[in-house]
Symmetry: D2
Subunit: 345 residues, 4 copies
């Protein structure tokens, strides 16, 4: 059994890790920490998990982590992980970091959009944990930067076409929509039920920090400058994320050729489901699961390719992918513990 | 492996059976029928189950059922099962019927509230599949009448106190609330999103057919006439059911004594979770699961006992309990295939 | 024009007062205060009211109130109004208080459930502002204690039968359900969208402070002890409140006789709509309005009367009724400024 | 008083017309028809309007319309209005048609996307009723083609920039999102509460009939070919529509210059509210009202202009604008009867 710990386990992504690890056949949750809730029982905070995760929350202590964990998930706000993770790595604990701290290759990008980086030497050792794209690197990684939710949803739709050099990289529009859980468990006027329900809005237009993350990953693959226009919106739903992506193909092509590229790229993937002609995905169909459903439409006249991609922001967009990363890092089937029954209704 | 079939598999309870059977470690779905959708692929109707249940829907045929099924779930509107089930039973197929056709002991009650019964001789052979109460009978049954959702939610809260003769049976008020999936997949003005969302209403006040079902089961245990006042309401949510039950105790007692009765009754149950003092359940915490969470409050002055019980109407209130019944009928652990990870968020 | 001020104008009931006063043909909003938001523009906090209420929020100052207001609405947490209101009254400003501070006749009840009362001498001068019941008193009042939302919704259903001595007062069950706006604008884990959406729960079972308010008002009319069992629940909707009330009639009667009592009692009311046989109200149908819709069901056998009553908790349950009180206090038609077009969809 | 009739009054746009006309100070509802509901009382179908619109629904009869109406709103599926409207016009009844039948200038466009046009000679007489753009034409019109909801929401954001020749017309992306009421009152699997709630999806990608309507109107103003890529999505909310529009400016400019263009264009408009820097609109803030709120963001580097525009699809996107058109046609203030109090919560 893999002994897994969660540092910062009481946020939504922490809770989702607990949920999934509790049913993982080859991992067990041995350590869970939170500054705010230390001493309390996890299922008192998340009563859905009564009898399933009646586990005591503790303070973080490197020694304890060392004694009890083969792998640690850090589910903390950015800036804190960079202070903790070097110590974990040095103690041979594998780490999947769910913050932005180890997602970027470029220190400059990170520092432009987040803050000063105090463990920059780990940036080149860390692997960007987009499993369907980087599985070969993840298998050998000891530190994985788990991708952001918007980047996961967007890149899974975009990358196959970038790899095939079918599309222009300098004119990509991502109109993205996320459920409210993406904003986290923290309280704010913007997450009050009465602010969200029956509402829909754009936010951080051209100012969201997931944009440079997406651009960097496209540029690495395309080996040229990318231009992404990114507009996030808030859906009045708990879970789910949908990205509508507008690109232009660089040559004449057809919808079926484009769909073939996608199907081919994901032919061995358990989690990416490519939809047929005229079919478009619904966030409801991936809720609670690690699936990413993708549908496309091509307009010959304008050479415009429209990709619609959906994930559950807390699963494939965070904790599910984190466990998928753990599976790969420990040589397991990447789907282990992640095939939870999707709710059809 | 138990070979399981579903007759009438395209309604919501059918879909929920498919979801759960697809992940059941000791059962496999070998046959699924629907008049309306025969010839189609199940996951085209419920795209959440793409790659998981890409199974062809067929017409019902007794021969096929006989060849392919050890157990059949009938997820059909009442009146149809009574025509099909005798044939199945005669062919040694075990049956869990999700309609009302085989729930009643009293033909008169059934016929008063539903319609003429054409297989009344099976009523006394059938077992009422409220698993936590009747497991000993279910283990030997070949035909189980799977309880209604409101009766399941209500009776699990009421029965322990009836068994202990702690409460009056002639003055029970059940104020119940159900999510919209309880109304089924059929289209009606009342299930249109714009009718339901931001709404809340009572319906079928004192006129719902689950009331006589509840009364019969109480009377069987109490061996005296029961009087239940039952008011269902519609919650603007997909899944979940909450019953607020008002009873009076027949003698002086205390909340802790009452809670002990409940804890004791369910001490070996995997699915009933009795909450502590001052805690009350939320439908959200059992969504997608086979759990029933129960909280109580006792008012000494008025001798009023208030029980709040919640289930997921599609799982413990229908398909989950149906599979729990199957597990019992085939000698398996009753929880087999039913411990799906609850969503904490 | 009546010059109206709002003390504590930035909570939900304050915002609702602003909305309604902005369109009132015989009142104008001349003063709005908030400690937290002083100096800001009201519509920056509630952008729905851009161009309609671009009014500056100020600090509370008795002098200013005196110079600018004929009437003041205090929309503050209980305890604060009792400190402010005496000064207003002495300065000949009429007051409608939306807190609990001046709702009770009995100091003891208030102090048992809230806190020490520092302006108890005003309790007997204040009038309980349940407009359909106390209009004759309200017309001459200078201080009105605006009823709580649950009491308004419940008492409008109960009082006509109490007045006709048709029902027992000592065995009343009120199973009430409220939308989330009833919890106010303050942030808490319990109002986070992800906690509420797809959820439904009971809270403060037998422990809500609106219960003694309801009991006192019934006792005043019945001139005997009342016994109310009160269970509030939270609906995943922004607005609306529904009370399902269970009473027993003291003599044999019929549903049509009971309905006649209701129709007769409200025959001159603009805001109470009594529904016909077999019809039950939906909170959706009164959303945004000052209406109270009531439906009833009578069960001859058990002599049980079930009353279902709905209001919009922010309008008839708070700010709408407050303005109705103002209208009565100033000799206007009680419906003035309150006939806003209900949304049929 | 203007005597107004509604042909096809029982759909959502019909109900919204009834709601607004019931409170219009200079119009009265004198005639309402529906084939399906003739003989019934309107408020029995829409109980929110009890006591407000207890009016009998009738069969359509030209004679009656002639005797009772100065203006008629046709709220019918396309194809039917073209058969009825010529008769009305010949009888000197002014008409606002809420279908697509008289929106297009080009017969070809209409016939390509809808069906054969049998009253094509009226196309050039009809005026496109986008009030803020065409008020001068509407004032003299006897037949107005009321714009589609998506075109209204999009064009109000786009047209000021087209008029100033600031943007390219051939590369416009409109990523639009609509509440469920846009799908109408008809029953379908796609409007079932359980299909919509907690869901979000794209539909009719590049295949929605509002696209050619938008293109035609842009082309008329720009006097050149327009290229619009249009993707509609479904929001799990009853009302509201948001369009995120991506255009490129043809010359260097700045966000403040662009905002000035917008403010200037709408400086006399009562219903369009242009938001300040960094502010973006929420559908919640225009719900139930005739407002259109618009926010913009400009990215100098890519010369990309992002416009976010919101309306209530049933009000400004249908019935509210229809009444605004009536107001203009009869020489009234365009806002008459339309300044309903917006719900701030």
């Amino acid at each position: 059994m893999i002994r897994a710990g969660i540092i910062g386990g009481t946020g939504y992504t922490g809770a989702e890790l607990v949920r999934l690890l509790s049913f993982h056949p080859e991992a067990e949750l041995t350590y869970i920490t939170s500054r705010q809730y230390a001493g309390q029982i996890f299922s008192d905070i998340y009563p859905a998990l009564r009898t399933i995760a009646d586990i005591e929350i503790e303070e973080f202590d490197l020694k304890k982590a060392q004694n009890r964990c083969d792998v640690v998930f850090t589910a903390l706000p950015h800036k804190i992980p960079m202070e903790i993770i070097p110590g974990l790595i040095e103690n041979k604990i594998k780490v999947v970091d769910l913050s932005a701290d180890f997602r970027f290759r470029s220190i400059k990008s990170y520092e432009d959009y987040y803050c000063e980086h105090k463990a920059a030497e780990y940036l080149e050792k860390s692997v960007y944990g987009l499993c369907e794209v980087n599985s070969h690197l993840i298998r050998n990684a000891s530190l994985v930067g788990n991708p952001g939710c918007y980047p996961t949803c967007s890149l899974l739709g975009i990358i196959p076409f970038i790899k095939h050099k079918k599309v222009n990289c300098d004119d990509i529009i991502i109109d993205a929509k996320s459920g409210v859980s993406g904003a986290g468990r923290g309280l704010s006027e913007g997450t009050h039920f009465c602010s969200v329900d029956e509402g829909f809005k754009a936010y951080k237009v051209m100012a969201h920090r997931h944009r440079p993350e997406i651009e960097e990953k496209i540029e690495e693959i395309a080996d040229q400058k990318a231009g992404v226009c990114f507009t996030p919106h808030l859906i009045p739903a708990v879970r789910g994320m949908l990205a509508t992506i507008y690109m232009r193909t660089s040559t004449d092509t057809s919808e079926s050729e484009l769909r073939n590229i996608l199907c081919d790229y994901y032919k061995n993937s358990r989690f990416v489901r490519v939809l047929g002609e005229g079919e478009f995905p619904n966030i409801k169909n991936v809720s609670g699961t690690n699936f990413c459903d993708i549908g496309i439409k091509y307009d010959n006249g304008s050479k415009r390719l429209i990709i619609v991609s959906v994930i559950d922001n807390l699963v494939k967009g965070a904790s599910g992918q984190a466990i998928q990363n753990m599976n790969l890092m420990f040589g397991l089937d990447e789907a282990k513990g992640l095939m939870v029954p999707p709710q059809a209704v």
